[in-house]
Amino acid sequence: MKNFNALNLAREALRGHKGWEKQWTSPEPKKKYDVIIVGAGGHGLGTAYYLAKEHGITNIAVLEKGWLGGGNTGRNTTIIRSNYLYDESAGLYNHALKLWEGLSQDLNYNVMFSQRGVLMLAHSVHDVQSFQRHIHANRLNGVDNQWLSAQEAKDYCPPLNISKDSRYPIMGAALQRKGGTARHDAVAWGYARKATAMGVDIIQNCEVIGINRAPSGEVTGVETTKGTINAEQVGIVASGHSSVLMDMAGVQMPLESYPLQALVSEPVKPVFPCVAMSNAVHAYVSQSDKGELVIGAGTDSYLSYSQTGSMHILQHALDAIIEMYPMFSRMKMLRTWGGIVDVTPDRSPIIGKTPVKGLYVNSGWGTGGFKATPGSAHVFAHTIARDEPHKINAGFNLDRFRNGRLIDEAAAAAVAH
């Protein structure tokens, strides 16, 4: 495979870029693979990549019902951070963050990981307490996160409105300098290209419609719109559709799928230097390298697989954005879209084995799994290759809903008294 580098780029420029190879191919499925990964999002493609790279398993098919990267990987607001509260979460997301830092080199694909800092705004005494709790826990876990006063936050992010008179005045902020954004499509493409080069078959337009199990229970393969494909190990990495797939294997999941929307503004010259999020009013914004403000909106209140959402959800998101950044009021929305997010009761993912032998699941990332992509893929590959979880994902098992040992990041940020 021709390396992506400046020299080759210059050479190709001289001959009209005629020499670039396909980044991935469009093979017909083989009858049998060692491992099948269902879902060619960042997590699924990454899993195939790490299986090949670190575990020597290359006879892998990644099955995708649409186009690779077209799920939530292709529709997220790309916020990357690791300043989570619980040890399990900090371990997982920080593992991912470390991998992010070397990902462009590792994949020979510029995923444009940009560590411009993630600012989380505090608007009440309760927010302050909660953020301090995070900052202290992060420090002792070796995760960077620091407290900024309102003025320091404003210096870091000049568009912020820190007026004391605003309805939700900013009382300070937590800043993770190592957080930032990445170019979402490139993540999927980079993994796909490298995985292809190592022999992985990425089969697009191939929907899994059934999961086959032997009479003794273990997985034998999958039914797809391109026929039966066999494998003794199947990993489900299908975000919003994970529960639908698990259902095919007879496993009911603690998951609900909601439409989550995002939007971009028209592109403008650089004006917003970091990522800023306000959980209290639900305002999430950054500016892409191309110039659009990328804004995360909320979920609708009902289950849906439609990849669209309601007008009032967009309104709420923009209400909050303008409350925080009044100068953006005249900016224009260019496009809005939706994704289907699979939400667990404790807002933490499920990564691990399932009650069915040979069946593994990586799901429940909800509104925040892009940031975990390399880490999640890495430990999930381990889980499949060894048939046991990596210690980083051990706590993110399905059993926790039975025994009550939740990793409740949402509850930990409990609402004000």
């Binding site: 580098n5 400046a6 210059a10 009209g16 870029h17 005629k18 670039w20 980044q23 469009s26 990267g69 077209g70 040890d87 070397g102 020979n108 694909y109 510029n110 940009s114 608007h123 005494v125 301090q132 709790r133 900052i135 202290h136 826990a137 002792l140 876990n141 605003s166 499509d185 490139a186 980079g190 697009q204 592109p267 403008v268 010259k269 650089p270 004006v271 009013v281 892409s288 390298d289 309601s310 007008m311 967009l314 309104q315 923009l318 209400d319 303008i322 409350e323 009044p326 100068m327 009021s329 005249r330 900016m331 224009k332 929305m333 260019l334 496009r335 009550g404 040992r405 509850a411 008294h417």
Partner: protein, 988 residues
């Protein structure tokens, strides 16, 4: 004032006698006439250069005459706070004093240093970002990314708060018509005649659509513009019709909800300050008629982006609607009949048409005949293989498809082009309709409508005007009035994809704004991007501010050809809202500043404001946090308030506490289910602390509840918890225990609640209370009585959240302020004070009382919180009972709520600080808990803290550590009762 040639065609169109209007563009003053768009006025002044492209910074002129415009984007500012980037010059109407600036160029539009990007353009192909900028790793953030970011974006964001108003309106109608062209007007009129309530909107200043651009057609002998004007007049006169011009239907949501955005003032020189700048209409329609029309495509050929090259239909619109000729020597390149009408119209005005190049092999006799009459040469079976001119096109080369040898060059000052018309499927698709490919006409058309809507006219692929009328009327269940149509122009023909041969030099732009060329699309396909979605994202085709209105079909066709697949198999990318970019402000409407969210205030709030209290937000409420005396900071004020309460008394506004009246014969039984402890045996007149769990066993809410009668409870909840508690209770009443005779009424706002706490509390209120004996014996701790205070009906509780003798008086809210002041009159002379939430927090912490949401966080059971005494295990059922017995909830070593004593009593821990057993371990450290509450206690003259710690109940007296950034604080585990542990004071 400019002295450039005047391209105004006097007498063409209906614009004789329009008033002159002066405006500036890049600092230079120009004159246009009323009704001009910025684009038409500039063209009238001979200006075509209006922008620079995104990536290569190529000089660009106007392409279109409407919302499809990708190039002529400008910054329009009334003042600093009212600057608006990326405004389409083709849409912006001019007004006296308008100031327009070109964008994305430095230092000037004519000389842009970034145009040097053009020189390295062979490298800046699709996907170049991904292939490079990775070496060395550190250079990405330090060097490359800043450069890329600097080059990003088109216009400049405003930097000041927007002073304009925006408004919102919900509206319902029987029929919503989007698009006011021939189709839309006919549909609206037919529906209106049938007495339907109708709304019709069009994004333009006047209705009529294409009819305003066509001077040939006659409808009942009237010109298109006259017919449209008459229709508009008739509709305006009908009370059941609302006409909205300058109003874009930008979003089609579920169940026939359509969102419109109306531009109210952007075309006015001096807007009325009371008028909103934009108005959002959220329409719920019985039926939606989509009459969006069609958008013309450009031809994709080498160097098709020089200023002066534009759509033929746009040129025709400029001529017929705005009385402006796009040049004096205008070449034509087309694959569609409509361009001929444009050419002939120009020729009629004496504009030279050196040649019409038709990509097709033949044209109709009719057209040939007309061309001959004008003496215009047509070259068929040919393409434009290149153009010349730096800031304005000045020449074009024409080659026959058969080969390049017979190339001919023409001098021109404008080139108009048409690759045919793309029916606008935007709103149909947004309604979740699936476009269907029509092989015969090579275009996508609306398929089945999933909602109650119909597409009519140009957007439905209906070209013949008579058919349009019939179809439009039928869509609303009517019949079109009979009209006679003559001189309807043929719209046949069209081409999708790149024209010319691979031998042609120059960039053939598919997407102008994003600088996507046919070669970029080819490269993407070559690199394995076989899905049109990948092609889009790899090349950014269709992702610019015009959202591919011109480029999507071409991109698709080029990709399909390379993939050797039929077009419908490759398919379209998804249409998404908004149809055209829409300001954030329009979405927000009134929800700004004070109206961003509700701010709830208690009846006593104003008193606290008058006293100079500092406030804190709690849920939606404003609560007085402390009442500083002059010179006091928060610490001093809180200290004083606490000490005053402990030694004398204090009064506190507790009105924000949620209150629910639970009534009915089964009230107690219901309480037994909802709360962990028992309520049936509680005597009327007594009160009790109650904890409410979620079904999973974790603490959900708490509060003191008074039993007024066997069938009536006065429940209090936390301030923030009131709505969710009410909702959960209702859920249980309605769906789990419908057989219970119990009713819930929210009474939070019926009552103002005033707490009086401290040794003097009884003395203070006694003079004001009638109808109850509040002596210690008759009215012990945890009593409730209905009586009168200050002569008004009251519910009086004897309770304490401070550990002192205390009362809480509930009076009807409108009396709250008066009763408060009456109490204050009693209290102040006795040395009592008003205190706020912060002192309340300190005092309750001194007593070890928890605050749900601070000392508990949704992962804490009542056992963990040391509240096992409040659980009636003997009850057969309560919400959360089963959840509490799950393995992890009964496991050893759970985090439990304990007290902490700092070794240095002066040291106040930070809330949220983490606790470890071994301070010397390396990072990552094993954390055993964290500080939930921590204060300086003036009464105890030392710091106090509460924390949840693993196995905390078994660690009493043990030493733990709180590692801070700069020090490690040693703490001892204690119980949580710091003050008056025996509780003698509250019984006093």
């Amino acid at each position: 004032m400019s002295t450039t040639p005047d391209f105004r065609i006097k007498g063409r169109g209906s614009r004789l006698g329009a008033k002159p209007v002066r405006f500036t563009f890049d600092g230079k003053t120009y004159e246009g006439i009323e009704g001009d768009t910025l684009a038409s006025a500039l063209i009238a002044n001979g200006v075509h250069l209006m922008g620079r492209s995104f990536k290569y910074h190529r000089p660009r002129g106007v392409i279109g005459a409407g919302v499809e415009e990708p190039n002529a984007l400008m910054d329009i500012s009334r003042d600093n706070a009212r600057s608006q980037p990326n405004v389409r010059a083709t849409v912006q109407e001019i007004y006296d004093g308008l100031k327009a600036k070109s964008q994305n160029r430095f230092p000037s539009l004519a000389f842009d240093v970034n145009a040097a990007n053009g020189l390295i353009s062979p490298i800046l192909t699709a996907g170049f970002y991904y292939k490079t900028f990775k070496w060395p790793a550190a250079a990405w953030d330090k060097l490359y990314e800043p450069i890329i970011r600097k080059a990003a974006g088109l216009g400049v964001s405003p930097t000041e708060e927007d002073p304009d108003r925006y408004s919102n309106r919900f509206v319902h109608c029987d029929v919503m018509v989007i698009g006011g062209g021939a189709a839309g007007l006919m549909a609206a009129k037919t529906a209106a005649n049938k007495k339907k309530s109708v709304i019709i909107c069009d994004e333009n200043p006047s209705m009529g659509g294409w009819l305003l651009s066509d001077t040939d057609i006659r409808i009942d002998g009237k010109s298109g513009a006259e017919w449209a004007a008459d229709m508009v007049a008739e509709l305006t006169a009908m009370p059941n019709v609302r006409l909205l011009t300058r109003t874009t239907g930008f979003g089609y949501f579920q169940q026939n909800m359509v969102a419109l955005n109306e531009q109210v003032t952007d075309h006015l020189s001096r807007p009325d300050p009371d008028s909103p700048r934009e108005r959002m209409w959220q329409v719920r329609a019985g039926k939606v008629i989509i009459a969006q029309g069609a958008i013309e495509r450009h031809m994709v050929f080498p160097d098709n982006d020089r200023p002066g090259i534009l759509l033929a239909g746009a040129a025709q619109t400029f001529l017929n609607k705005y009385s402006v000729a796009v040049g004096q020597n205008v070449g034509v390149y087309t694959a569609c009949d409509t361009a001929y009408a444009a050419a002939f119209d120009l020729a009629e005005e004496g504009i030279n048409i050196p040649v019409i190049v038709d990509h097709r092999d033949e044209v109709s006799e009719e057209i040939q005949k007309q061309a001959d009459e004008f003496g215009i040469r047509i070259i068929t079976g040919a393409h434009v293989s290149g153009t010349s001119g730096k800031l304005r096109v000045n020449g074009m080369s024409v080659s026959k498809h058969t080969g390049n040898s017979d190339r001919e060059d023409f001098d021109i000052d404008a080139l108009i082009m048409s690759a045919g018309w793309t029916p606008s499927l935007h709103l149909y698709s947004q309604s979740r309709g699936k476009p269907e490919w029509d092989e015969a006409t090579q275009r996508f058309l609306p398929g089945v409508s999933p909602q109650n809507c119909a597409s009519v006219g140009g957007c439905n692929g209906t070209d013949d005007l008579a058919d349009v009328f019939t179809e439009a009327a039928k869509a609303v269940g009517g019949k079109a009035s009979k009209v006679k149509i003559t001189d309807d122009v043929s719209t046949s023909g069209g081409f999708i994809g790149a024209t010319g041969t691979s031998a042609d030099k120059g960039k053939a732009f598919v997407d102008f704004q994003n600088d996507v060329t046919a070669k970029d699309i080819a490269l993407a396909v070559r690199e394995g991007m076989h899905s049109i979605e990948h092609v889009k994202r790899y090349t950014t085709n269709g992702m610019a501010t015009d959202q591919g209105k011109l480029s999507n079909m071409h991109g698709l066709a080029i990709a399909a050809k390379l993939l050797d697949k039929p077009i419908p198999q490759v398919g379209l990318t998804t249409f998404r809202a908004p149809y055209t970019p829409t300001t954030f402000a329009a979405f927000i409407g009134h929800n700004r500043g004070k109206l961003f969210d509700v701010t709830r205030e208690t009846p006593i709030n104003d008193w606290a404001v008058e006293q100079g209290a500092e406030f804190e937000p709690v849920a939606l409420w404003q609560r007085a946090m402390y009442f500083p005396k002059s010179g006091e900071d928060m610490h001093a004020a809180v200290d004083r308030e606490c000490q005053t309460v402990r030694t004398k008394a204090g009064i506190f506004d507790a009105s924000t506490l949620g209150k629910i009246e639970i009534t009915g014969p089964d009230a107690a039984a219901f309480m037994d289910i909802m709360y962990t402890n028992g309520w049936s045996k509680l005597k009327p007149g007594r009160a009790k602390y109650g904890i409410m769990l979620r079904e999973d066993g974790f603490i959900y809410d708490d509060g003191v509840i008074g039993k007024l009668a066997d069938d009536r409870f006065h429940v209090t909840t936390t301030t923030g918890g009131a709505p969710r508690v009410m909702n959960m209770m209702e859920d249980f009443v309605q769906t789990e225990f419908p057989e219970m005779d119990v009713w819930l009424t929210s009474t939070t706002e019926q009552w103002a609640t005033i707490a009086i706490q401290g040794p003097l509390a009884r003395d203070i209120i006694k003079p004001l209370v009638t109808g109850a004996n509040i002596s210690n014996e008759k009215f012990p701790h945890m009593s409730v009585v209905e009586c009168k205070v200050c002569g008004v009906p009251a519910r009086l509780f004897r309770i304490s959240f401070t550990g002192e003798l205390g009362f809480e008086i509930n009076v009807p809210a409108d009396y709250g302020r008066a009763v408060w002041e009456a109490i204050w009159k009693q209290a102040e002379p006795k040395g009592a004070c008003a205190y706020g939430t912060e002192a309340m927090h300190v005092m309750r912490a001194e007593k070890g009382y928890i605050i749900v949401g601070q000392d508990t966080d949704g992962t804490v059971t009542p056992y963990d919180a040391g509240l096992s005494w409040a659980i009636a295990k003997s009850k057969p059922d309560f919400v959360g009972k089963r959840g509490l017995t799950r393995p992890d909830l009964v496991a050893d070593g759970r985090r439990q709520l304990i007290g902490l004593k700092t070794k240095d009593p002066k040291k106040v821990l930070q809330e949220g600080a983490q606790i470890v057993a071994d301070p010397d371990q390396p990072i990552p450290m094993k954390m055993v808990g964290f500080v939930t509450s921590s204060y300086w206690s003036g009464s105890l003259d030392k710091s106090i803290a509460m924390a949840v710690v693993e196995d905390g109940f078994n660690l009493m007296g043990k030493t733990l550590y709180v590692p801070m950034e700069d020090e490690t604080i040693e703490v001892e585990v204690t119980n949580t009762s710091f003050y008056d542990p025996k509780g003698e004071r509250l019984h006093g």
